[in-house]
């Protein structure tokens, strides 16, 4: 079932476009989001993190490779590819190898349902949001496999912490997203964008349309930080406590896969946050009288630009927090989840339901 038939005709038509039996259209539709993700995750996520942290800490950051060090990450990836692939002799080899793969796959499968514009979406599932929340939970299996398979005490600590944390934080995160689903009346990712786009730009976004929406918005943002193991909730890999947490024993490309998965899911949660509460690819600019800003800035290409901009903004906020705040302790983290976020998520859930019924 598709919630937006007109958009899908567009993308179906593009998908059906072939040159001499070569499915060029399909490749464009399927590949553009993935190419973007790869580019982003490989270079600009890591590069941005390093540059932002450098600016916050009064230093320059990478400056040597390319202008302003813009190719630094590529050089790093090349270096990691050349590294020896070490598997500890006492490790459980199967789990050790499969761990990063599961994590990588779990992180990037969620991109299948992210709409990068009215036309660019891997699969507009009618349960897209549910799928995105569910598939990311696969990462837990990867973390546990690598933590256990490493046969390292620090890695085991990291893995167990991480599983407790991610599983716990999924509850407030999911409830907060359910509030969004109630407002949209659907779980389809494309539908979220459609109901939030309109001539008045940002006035159609749930965050500005519904006075309660800021509560699930903040709850989901905090919970997503914890789900991504980002500071101040980065206790599974707390470098000063657990050396490197669950990836202590990893080197080379396996290590890079953890990194890519982390940056991938950073973008994923940022995109989900902007899709559910901030209109995704819908343009925030309103039509003011004769000045049709909204109409001018809507369309497939603009949509991709908007969602990427919104995603980048939340990634920036994540980095900003990371480089400002110290780390919470395990029990404080659990306290925050079960005694603060979850009750407030339920309150938000009830209030949103009341609002949707009576307003």
């Amino acid at each position: 079932m598709s919630s937006s038939p007109s958009l899908n005709t567009w993308s179906d038509a593009l998908s059906g476009f072939t040159i001499g039996g070569f499915p060029l259209g399909l490749i464009i539709v399927a590949a553009i989001p993935l190419v973007f993700i790869a580019l982003y995750a490989l270079t600009y996520g890591v590069y941005g993190e390093r540059k932002f942290s450098a600016f916050m800490q009064d230093r320059l950051g990478p400056m040597e490779v390319g202008p302003w060090g813009i190719l630094q990450t590529l050089a790093d990836i090349l270096k990691l590819l050349q590294k020896e692939d070490i598997v500890p002799t006492v490790a459980d080899k199967f789990l050790f190898v499969i761990g990063p793969l599961i994590m990588f796959v779990g992180s990037f499968l969620a991109f299948a349902v992210l709409p990068f514009g009215p036309a660019f979406i891997g699969a507009d599932l009618n349960v897209g949001l549910f799928y995105a929340v569910g598939i990311v939970a696969l990462e837990v299996v990867g973390i546990l496999a690598s933590g256990w398979g490493s046969n390292n005490k620090w890695a085991l600590y990291g893995a167990i912490r991480s599983v407790a944390q991610i599983v716990s934080y999924e509850i407030p995160a999911s409830i907060a997203l359910l509030c969004g689903a109630m407002m949209a009346g659907s779980l389809s990712m494309q539908h979220f964008n459609v109901v939030q786009s309109g001539p008045y730009g940002f006035m159609h976004f749930f965050l500005f349309r519904n006075p309660i929406a800021w509560l699930p918005f903040i709850i989901y943002f905090i919970a997503s930080l914890a789900e991504n193991n980002r500071a101040p909730f980065d206790i599974p890999e707390a470098e000063s406590e657990l050396v490197a947490g669950f990836f202590t024993e990893y080197t080379g490309m396996k290590f890079a896969m953890f990194f890519l998965a982390e940056y991938g899911s950073m973008f994923m949660v940022s995109a989900v946050l902007s899709i559910v509460f901030l209109g995704g690819w819908a343009s925030p600019l309103p039509n003011i009288g004769g000045l049709a800003l909204n109409t001018m800035t809507s369309g497939p290409v603009w949509g991709a630009i908007w969602i990427i901009l919104k995603g980048f903004f939340f990634i920036f906020v994540q980095m900003w927090l990371r480089w400002t705040l110290p780390r919470l302790r395990v029990d404080q983290l659990m306290y925050l989840c079960w005694k603060v976020l979850t009750p407030f998520a339920f309150i938000a859930f009830v209030l949103t339901a009341v609002w949707e019924i009576y307003m």
Partner: protein, 400 residues
């Protein structure tokens, strides 16, 4: 339901239920895990190794293992002349070389009983206090890293860099100065010294406030440190604690006041002691707080010294340095307040040799660290990291 018996091992319980059936309840088997923390762990501040016995995340017992940086300081001292020991003292507490040099030099001067020119005393105090600030900046910055805050660390190091440049300018080295000599200094300070130190003080004052707002008053930071690793004052005294550690427990003890040396009696400064409002007295936060407040006091001391420092034309800092140091037979203990506590040297001279018969160094970090076993009982691993960070050890001084 009635409990018939209980075995300690595996907490087995034999229970008679209401319908007279006897069942044996057994908890899940759990075992303690031995966790070796360090010497290559990121938050053991060097090469400290802690052997932790853990029950899940709870540390049952943690015992520090030392000696990875042992360099036979005391034995070397018996083989080299008195002035040649000065560079070795730098390598003890490498974050506060000036202070350790000062402690060693005042000890030998006590043994020789020589009078030091006033200008030399002022320069010694200024450099020692500058180094104290630098050392506390490292302590505070790395403490931030231990708790996951990376940015304060780089802010601290940015400001420390200025101090190190100043000290490099006057002594020629960034960390291992060999600047304070027995009976004087290696060189007089450069011509613009006063101006540049003044510039640093006025630059640094707002940065202290910035650091306080960023780290000390941060909600998460307070949550992580308040009430963690509480050390009561009596126990701290019994352990022989000194410096910010002892003052963190609420004891107003500072050798600059209690056993004054150099020109400290002439200077006005407070000894910060936590009052229990912002922190629980004796916890990790108190110890951090004392260090943070001591930076302000050191700045005060530097300002006063710059005002009072006499300008002597054609001043020779080596004027009263004895040509040949051969103290009369006897023994002496001299001590000074280092950033990490009391550093003392116990020197025995046989009266014939130019080398000490025995030179025992009392290390503040070593004594402070000795309470680790007590402090770590029943703490979580993240709290253990917070406690080690608050002790602020320099392994060079612990192992010597």
């Amino acid at each position: 339901m009635q409990e018939l018996g209980k075995a300690e091992l595996n907490s087995t319980r034999i229970i008679r239920q209401d319908d007279n059936r006897v069942i044996i309840e057994k908890d899940l088997d759990t075992e303690y895990m031995v966790l070796s923390m360090g010497p290559q762990h990121p938050s053991t501040h060097g090469v400290l190794r802690l052997e932790c016995i853990t029950d899940g995340e709870v540390v049952v017992e943690a015992e520090p293992y030392l000696g990875y940086l042992h360099r036979c300081f005391e034995k070397y001292c018996e083989k080299i002349d008195y002035p040649a020991i000065v560079p070795y003292t730098d390598r003890m507490d490498y974050l506060a070389g000036m202070n350790t040099e000062l402690a060693y030099c005042i000890t030998v001067e006590k043994l020789l009983d020589i009078e030091i020119p006033r200008r030399v005393e002022f320069i010694r105090v200024i450099t020692a206090e500058l180094n104290r600030i630098a050392s506390h900046l490292v302590a505070i910055g790395t403490y931030g890293i231990d708790l996951g805050a990376f940015t304060p660390f780089l802010f601290c190091f940015r400001d420390r860099e200025i101090i190190l440049n100043l000290l490099e300018w006057i002594s020629g080295a960034r960390m291992l100065y060999n600047y304070v000599w027995i009976g004087g200094l290696s060189y007089d300070v450069p011509a613009d010294f006063k101006k540049r130190v003044d510039e640093f003080v006025s630059y640094f004052k707002p940065k202290v406030v910035e650091l306080r707002e960023l780290l000390t008053e941060n909600e998460i930071f307070v949550k992580r440190t308040k009430g963690i690793g509480i050390m009561p004052a009596e126990v701290a005294i019994n352990y022989g604690w000194s410096g910010p550690m002892l003052r963190g427990s609420g004891v107003k003890w500072d050798l600059r006041r209690n056993d004054p040396y150099s020109i400290y009696p002439e200077l006005e400064f407070d000894i910060p002691v936590p009052d229990g409002k912002f922190s629980d007295v004796g916890d990790s936060l108190s110890r951090h707080l004392v260090r943070a407040l001591e930076i302000d006091e050191s700045l005060k001391i530097i300002e006063q010294c710059l005002d009072k420092m006499p300008e002597v034309a054609g001043f020779d800092p080596r004027a009263v340095i004895p040509k040949r140091i051969r103290p009369k037979a006897g023994e002496v203990y001299g001590r000074a307040e280092n950033p990490r506590g009391e550093v003392g040297f116990y020197i025995v001279s046989d009266g014939k040799s130019t080398k000490p018969l025995r030179c025992k160094a009392r290390s503040s970090c070593f004594v402070n660290l000795s309470a680790m076993k007590d402090l770590s009982k029943g703490q979580l691993i993240p709290d253990l990291v917070a406690i080690i960070g608050s002790i602020d050890i320099v392994l060079g001084e612990v192992d010597r």
